[in-house]
Amino acid sequence: MSLPERQTDVGPPHYEKFLPPVIKKNYGKWKYHEVLTPGTMVHVAESGDELYTVRVASPRLLSTETIREVCDLAEKYCDGYLRFTTRNNIELLVSDKSKLDPLVAELKEKKYMIGGIGPRISNVIHTQGWVHCHGACTDASGLVKAVMDELHEYFTTKELPNKVRLAVACCVNMCGAVHVSDIAIVAVHRKVPVIDDVNVGKQCEIPTTIASCPTSAIRPNPKTKSVSINDDKCMYCGNCFTVCPPINIHNPEEDGVAIVVGGKIGSLRTDPKFSKLAIPFFYNEPPRWPKVVDAIKNILNVYAANARKHERVGEWIERVGWEEFFKLTGIEFTFQHIDDFTFMRDTLRTSAAFKY
């Protein structure tokens, strides 16, 4: 079977090819939108034209079969037009208002989950996990599923003070948005990597390996023609492992996940914020990580009960103070919470005013 002729550097198709006519016509001329239900909204143009959007949850990891099913729906109700959101939900774009309710009905019937618009939880930004990445020290999709099975009502119905952005990263590379999420899970190691001297010598460039360590914990070991690690300095970041795989950072019994909270991306009201460490460690407990799920629910509930309308998790915490956050959530404060990395100066308290 002969292949079609390859082209190079054509880039992606121009997006115009995929825009529904109502968008083409009103491009840049939208006037306002209204959230109709947690999963539907309408955008109204200056011309008066309307575009209805139905947002559908996606596990992101999709089979071709499911994608085809969604395409069927798009063809039936949306003249074939659909899009994905930056948080990996599916958006079905309805130009003909009369098709909105039937679409929603069929989606519900087929057990698609509709929601995620407005002040609630939307999809969870996450990474590859054990599905595909060599670096993963937890599974990402599994955690997302476990967490969202518990919190799905915040996607479909319940409101929160504002949007709550969740994320999961399967290692500290954080191929997602963990560092700027309202509540997020990040996988962490807790043990110094084990060195396979023979293979280090064979596979790795020693100077690069040494240079890869942010804490200068790695020294050359001339005896073994390999390297050695100063245990006291290693903070288990795994960067050496990325550069030199025979330095094995994985330790199934002692790897696990941390929970960080209070991050934020938009510049509304307050500056974008980094997420901060809330709970330094949970053991991996597949398939459902029950303790992690409980911890997140707890944080979310305390937020929901205490934050003011429009306050994001981080804004609420900063208003009441982190000491109050730990008190209200009952989370234990540990040595790990105190920064001894690059932001130490800035995060240690420099004031005589604080709450007990």
Binding site: S58, R68, F84, W130, G142, K145, T242, I265, N284
Partner: protein, 395 residues
């Protein structure tokens, strides 16, 4: 062939309300041994709490250095279907818009050459096809590229730019985010496909400070739409919000970070000189308030994930730049100058933000011909240790 493995742990994850990725893998596994072996190897990970993938080797398509992530399994005999399981990154169309026809075409080809598993989309923005063999890469490329679907970025290259939905469906888009994203993607095709940079370089474009594509947090170059001039107020709509139960004083006026608003019970006043264009009031009262009329973008640089000196959020470089011409000439030149400075100065594996931390903002500002302005800082330096150059003395 499907159902080769017992997956008691994974089966647990088919229960519950949230759509299940396990169900997806099983769906694919019905007709695809690669997907079925993925299921098997994943169950093993869940059982043993560890991953079995090896570091990626260098694989790719002819003439390209990026777009494919090589992935091999450490137990190829046990799971032959995933012995090679590379990802093929298709550069998404700006804004993630598709027609059903286009998606079907992509899926049909993928079923032929790959695992039938996808990510829509990857965190950078690509349409990620998860799992194929080295052998099939050229065929995939011929099929896709001939139909207009090129590869996205990977490695030390320009990475696939991404953007929010912008003017296509959002009333607040101050810039044509999708057009800019598409323009950048096309403009940097060579840099995207042939890694020649010190490390990855990411561009993300959001139409306003809501930043729906997280540009400020996940892009070396963050382009964020904004405006000059007064916020447009429709007082009649203000009254409607008040009438329909919004506590304007509490929810809007008191949450305005610059305290530049006031509400007398019927009409809203904004001291626009003091407004920082944070978007809060506009976002919460979209029918009553609209951004000012002179549109443009703020350019921020340097954000990234924590490896290895801690995560960074992008820093303001150019507070306002016009971006409404069709070819985005000024924006492109600025981008090129930034990249050139980085490329000239960075060590391998040093991101733009990290380089700025080492060198300071000044050389970058000088390289792009931008003067220092207070908008670039939250506050001036505190310690009286600062450099003087001969230029400063000449002044």
């Amino acid at each position: 062939m499907a159902g080769k493995y017992k997956t008691p742990m994974l089966d647990e994850l088919e229960k519950g309300e949230w759509p299940s990725f396990i169900t997806e893998i099983k769906k694919a596994a019905k007709n695809n041994q690669m997907a079925d072996d993925e299921l098997g190897q994943l169950e093993k990970s869940f059982q043993t709490k560890r991953g079995y993938w090896k570091h990626g080797g260098i694989v790719g398509v002819l003439g390209y250095g990026s777009g494919v992530i090589g992935r091999y399994h450490s137990l190829p005999e046990e799971f032959p279907g995933v012995a090679q399981f590379h990802t093929y990154r298709i550069n998404q169309p700006s804004g993630f818009f598709y027609t059903a026809a286009a998606l079907r075409e992509i899926m049909d080809i993928w079923d032929k050459y790959g695992s039938g598993l996808t990510n829509l989309h990857g965190s950078t923005g690509d349409l990620v096809l998860l799992g194929t063999t080295t052998e099939n890469l050229e065929a995939l490329f011929a099929e896709y590229s001939s139909r207009g679907w090129d590869l996205g970025g990977s490695g030390s290259a320009m990475r696939t730019p991404s953007c929010c939905v912008g003017q296509a469906r959002c009333e607040w888009a101050n810039i044509d985010a999708m057009a800019i994203c598409n323009h950048m993607t096309q403009h940097f095709q060579d840099e995207l496909h042939r890694p020649a940079f010190p490390y990855k370089f990411k561009i993300k474009v959001s139409g306003c400070a809501c930043d729906c594509v997280a540009a400020i947090a996940r892009a070396d170059l963050s382009i964020i739409g904004t405006w000059k001039g007064d916020i447009q107020i429709d007082q009649a709509e203000v009254k409607k919000y008040a009438g329909s139960g919004m506590d304007i004083q509490k929810e809007i006026v008191e949450m305005c970070p610059t305290a530049c608003m006031s509400f007398d019970g019927s009409s809203l006043t904004i001291n626009n000189e003091q407004c920082s264009r944070c978007m809060h009031c506009i976002a919460k009262m979209t029918k009553a308030l609209r951004p000012g009329k002179e549109k443009g973008a703020s350019i921020l640089v340097g954000s990234k994930a924590p490896i290895v000196v801690g995560s960074l959020i992008s820093w303001v470089l150019v507070p306002f730049i016009k971006a409404d011409d069709d070819d985005f000439a000024a924006l492109t030149e600025l981008t090129e100058n930034i990249i050139e400075w980085w490329d000239d100065n960075a060590k391998p594996r040093e991101r733009l933000g990290e380089l700025i931390e080492v060198k300071g903002m000044r050389p970058l500002l000088e390289a792009i011909g931008m003067p220092p302005v207070p908008q670039q800082v939250k506050e001036p330096r505190k310690d009286p240790f600062f450099f003087w150059s001969e230029d400063d003395f000449a002044k």
